[in-house]
């Protein structure tokens, strides 16, 4: 097809602002999916995503559209993930487009993540088409929302289009605007192949399905290709596109969007952001912007039933097949037995993985409270990265501990500003500046330690603004912090699963909470058991589990020893499920409840 008739675009929208609904209208207008066949929200495929309203994996759909000018165009709609955990994926999806619809719910106004992604799109040189959605809603403020968008982009409010994705009003005009305003792709079909992998998914029969945007050259069936970042070679088994189902075709040319299948089964070999080139005439340079997936948040994941360890292992292997960003290494915890230290892009990513493990694989899990990765410089100037607090070297050998920070943007109505500033301060945030967005919203910028965000920052943000505040952030590297490793000792024995890295001034509070919790949860022993929180050999909090003083001593009557024997038998069974920490017997459940509830109130 003539390149000048191709338009590649995406929709940037906050969750629930109507992206999927609008995409459905486009599929209808272009007859890609006949109206009667339209299952609601066709593009959202995964069940989990449907329930949570989150788009985890982007896809691309090809549509044929006869525009107002009577000419037939080929439109490729590329779906983008909506959450900051996946901002790298968002950036790759944007890189596959020439234009973006910026969709904002008229009843909600602009959200921080939308701002973030809009700027990302502007920076990537995309043509932005600002749109206000849900104008059919009586409670909507289309005018005000248009003003906000105009402020954000520095344009005239009159340039903002008005649609209702639900009723379809304005959507055809919007498609015409896409055709008119989004530039056709550049790049020539005869050049050496450079195609951007902007997403991938895994199919158990065919292996990895890579979504590509051909930037230059042509990729065709049977071709020998290479992935420039990973150095993996393969030959193309199948090329095609979605419309909306998988349709194979002989090849894709510069400017086109589709998928390739190579028979590669391992997702880690085909990475989002990598460049596909030809083996015969390879390109000199890869496309810019590739990054290794870098997990920022870590947590231990353990099976509640230690027999399920192999099942957990298998399940993680399988998840990894279509989640290249997930990392895991085996670890052994005194309290929890065998499990894995897993790395995630962020908190949402972690929740999704946990939920999938539990739901799709039926596993019962204990997840330790999440921690970030720390950069540790020792006295000799050597730098290591610590992913598990219990691996933190002895404080005496350390020169400096650095922790990851994020640049955060918070949008909040002026009324809640005070509470949010307080929260930022509580979380060791460094205030940067603020700006008013059309008088309705303040845009607050600050730096925050990622560690403070992974606990319940987002929930707090919402609860202190009655749900109005929104958040966006990007990683900004490591900064030194006054951090210490806090260990929990039960009867003098450290229990690894409870070790944390905390800011020095908070060590006492945190230690107190955890030791109290454990005192409540650990059953009395035959001797007093001290539970201590220790920082660098110094006890910062201490509780004592008093020794058991009296058992139930039922009368042993008329030679009836059966009761006593039954009781003893029960204790024997019980002992099997006990974990030994030194001489202290602790039921696994006690650890689990301490860990499960440990994170909840950490921030308060």
């Amino acid at each position: 097809m003539d390149r000048s008739r191709i338009r590649n675009f995406c929709i940037i929208a906050h969750i629930d602002h109507g992206k999927s609904t609008l995409a459905d209208r486009f599929l209808e207008i272009t007859d890609t999916v006949p109206r009667q066949k339209m299952a609601e929200q066709y593009l959202d495929r995964m069940e989990l995503e449907r329930e949570r309203g989150i788009t985890i994996k982007a896809q691309a759909v090809r549509m044929q559209y006869r525009a107002g000018d009577g000419v037939e165009y080929r439109l490729n709609l590329i779906d983008t993930p909506g959450h900051v955990d996946f901002s790298y994926e968002v950036s790759r999806s944007l890189a596959a487009c020439e234009g973006a619809i910026l969709l904002v719910d008229a009843s909600q106004g602009v959200e921080a993540q939308t701002v973030g992604n809009a700027y990302l799109a502007v920076e990537s040189g995309l043509e932005i088409i600002p749109v206000v959605n849900k104008i059919d809603l009586p409670a909507s403020d289309a005018e005000g929302t248009a003003m906000e968008i105009a402020d954000l982009l520095g344009i005239d409010p009159a340039e903002v289009l008005m649609v209702s994705a639900k009723t379809g009003e304005g959507t055809e005009k919007l498609l015409d605007a896409v055709v008119e305003r989004v530039p056709a792709p550049s790049g020539e079909a005869w050049m050496p192949l450079r195609a951007l992998v902007f997403d991938s998914t895994y199919d158990s029969y065919r292996g990895v399905v890579a979504f590509v945007r051909v930037v230059e050259g042509t990729v065709s069936r049977g071709m020998k290709i290479g992935f420039m970042a990973t150095g993996v070679s393969a030959s193309v088994d199948e090329v095609g596109f979605f419309s909306p189902d998988m349709i194979s075709c002989p090849g894709l040319e510069a400017g086109e969007v589709g998928y390739i299948i190579t028979g590669i089964k391992d997702v880690t070999r085909i990475r989002v952001g990598d460049t596909v080139t030809g083996r015969e005439a390879p390109a000199a340079e890869p496309l810019p912007g590739y990054r290794d997936p870098k997990p920022m948040v870590f947590a231990g994941i353990y099976p509640v039933d230690s027999d399920a360890f192999t099942d957990l292992n298998d399940a993680l292997e399988k998840l990894k097949l279509n989640d290249a960003a997930l990392s895991f290494v085996r670890e052994n915890s005194k309290a929890l037995g065998f499990g894995f230290r897993c790395g995630f892009l962020g908190l949402l990513h972690m929740e999704i993985v946990q939920e999938r493990l539990e739901r799709e694989y039926g596993l019962d899990l204990v997840v330790t409270s999440p921690n970030v990765v720390y950069e540790v410089e020792d006295r000799e100037g050597r730098i290591t990265h610590v992913r598990n607090p219990s691996d933190m070297p002895d404080m005496g050998t350390i020169k400096e501990i650095r922790e990851p920070y994020v640049r955060a943007t918070i949008l909040v109505p002026p009324d809640y500003m005070g509470g949010i500033l307080e929260l930022v301060k509580e979380r060791r945030g460094i205030y940067q500046d603020m700006a008013y967005l059309s008088g309705r919203r303040v845009e607050l910028r600050c730096r925050l330690p990622l560690a403070e965000m992974v606990i319940d920052f987002y929930d707090q943000l919402k609860s202190r603004s009655r749900g109005y505040a929104s958040l966006d952030y990007e990683h900004m590297g490591f900064l030194p912090g006054n951090l210490v490793r806090l260990d929990i000792l039960i009867n003098g024995e450290p229990v690894d699963a409870f070790s944390v890295i905390v800011e020095r001034s908070r060590a006492h509070d945190y230690g107190k909470r955890i030791t109290q919790r454990l005192r409540e949860l650990i059953p009395r022993q035959l001797f007093d058991v001290p539970v201590q929180a220790v920082v660098g050999g110094r006890v910062v909090a201490r509780e004592t589990i008093k020794a058991r003083r009296k058992d139930v001593l039922a009368k042993c009557y008329g030679g009836d020893v059966t009761r006593k024997k039954k009781l003893l038998q029960k204790q024997k069974e019980g002992k099997k499920r006990m974990k030994m920490v030194g001489k202290v017997e602790i039921p696994q459940e006690a650890f689990i409840s301490a860990l499960r509830s440990g994170g909840e109130d950490k921030g308060k």
């Binding site: 035959l526 001797f527 020794a547 058991r548 003083r549 009296k550 058992d551 139930v552 001593l553 039922a554 009368k555 042993c556 009557y557 008329g558 030679g559 009836d560 020893v561 059966t562 006593k564 024997k565 009781l567 003893l568 204790q571 024997k572 002992k575 006990m578 030994m580 001489k583």
Partner: protein, 371 residues
């Protein structure tokens, strides 16, 4: 051999009780008494005692003093006729304070009873009411006095601690009074909350509040201290006696000696096999009427289990258990010794008073501790 005779009837039920007992008509009790005799005769035709008679008889309940003193004497006669009775056999009967007159005591003693065990439970009328006992403190004192003058060799009083709204003082003064009256033996039990009892419901509702673990432990330890200072030997977790007055029948249980239990729900250990009778009185009567023994749940005790029993039962007593029976490493026992829960001396392991309070846990630790 030793014989236990169970009498599963009471005048009314106490609020905490989950013993094998019920309220019944006179005619049912009469039929039961006759059946007991028949059961003993049947056993006598099956086992040979090797020329020796019974070394002890224990008539427990329920409330065996629902029978008159003469009826008890007749029951002892029947047992003696069936199995023979050693000249110095210990013969115990349990008595509820609200049941017997002085004449009953006299008849029982002349019929062979030499040990009387009175269910005093408490000398605090409020506490007795809360337990829905059928007697008050005055009746309890009177029963003890009658027992002491009846000519029986040993008189025991049962007293409970850890009672709802019961103070340590009230409990100790009860013990003191019993000791002052001259009882030779005291059984001191903690009130235990059994599921399905009226008391348990009251506790659940919050109407009745039981003392906390610490308080209960304190009461027990104070009792041990006080009784020892008055010359009582603390020879078993719950039992105290003046020298020469220990209960040989009960000691036999702790030493895993053989015994036969007759009556509904009675337990036996014979020839290394543990078994019991049907708990239901009607079933018990029906089976014996048909000429069958109402035995069920027979289980040969395997060697390892017997060792566990030996430890579990032996550790209840002041004599303790030989260290080699326990086996394992010495270090494990040392830990418990360091906690003040047991002592090791002369090759025997014994619980301390504090250890007795947590005997279940100590026993589990000794038997099943993993490294």
């Amino acid at each position: 051999m030793r014989l236990y005779i169970h009498w599963p009837f009471c005048r009314s039920r106490c609020s905490y009780c989950d013993f094998n007992s019920r309220v019944a008509t006179q005619s049912l009790m009469a039929a039961y008494g006759e059946t007991l005799v028949k059961e003993m005769k049947t056993w006598a035709s099956l086992i040979r005692l090797g020329g020796q008679g019974l070394r002890s008889i224990y008539i427990g309940g329920g409330t065996p003093s629902c029978m008159s003193g003469e009826e008890v004497a007749a029951l002892i006669d029947a047992a003696s006729l069936a199995f023979g009775l050693d000249a110095d056999a210990e013969v115990t009967v349990e008595i509820n304070p609200a049941t017997w007159e002085a004449g009953d005591f006299r008849h029982a003693v002349s019929g062979g009873v030499n040990r009387l065990s009175i269910g005093v439970q408490s000398l605090d009328d409020g506490a007795l009411r809360r337990l829905s006992r059928t007697h008050d403190a005055l009746e309890a004192r009177r029963a003890v006095a009658s027992a002491l003058t009846s000519g029986a060799r040993t008189v025991n009083a049962d007293l409970m601690y850890a009672l709802p709204a019961g103070s340590e003082d009230a409990f100790l003064s009860g013990l003191e009074e019993m000791s002052g009256m001259g009882v030779h033996h005291l059984s001191v039990y903690a009130l235990t909350l059994e599921s399905g009892t009226p008391l348990q419901r009251l506790v659940e509702q919050g109407t009745v509040v039981l003392p906390r673990e610490e308080e209960a432990a304190r009461q027990y330890l104070s009792a041990v201290e006080m009784l020892e200072s008055k010359g009582f030997e603390h020879y078993e977790i719950s039992n105290f006696c003046k020298p020469g007055h220990c209960c040989r029948h009960n000691l036999a249980y702790w030493r895993r000696e053989e015994y036969l239990g007759v009556g509904a729900g009675a337990h036996s250990l014979l020839g290394g096999v543990r078994f019991r009778n049907q708990r239901s009185v009607l079933l018990y009567l029906r089976l014996l009427k048909a000429g069958e023994l109402p035995v069920c749940g027979a289980e040969a005790v395997a060697e390892e289990e017997a060792r566990e029993e030996m430890i579990m039962l032996g550790m209840r007593t002041a004599r303790g258990v030989p260290e080699r029976t326990i086996g394992g490493t010495r270090e494990e026992l040392r830990d418990l010794e360091n906690c003040g829960l047991l002592t090791i001396s002369g090759g025997r392991v014994r619980l301390t008073a504090r250890g007795m309070l947590v005997s279940n846990a100590v026993m589990a630790d000794i038997l099943y501790r993993r490294g």
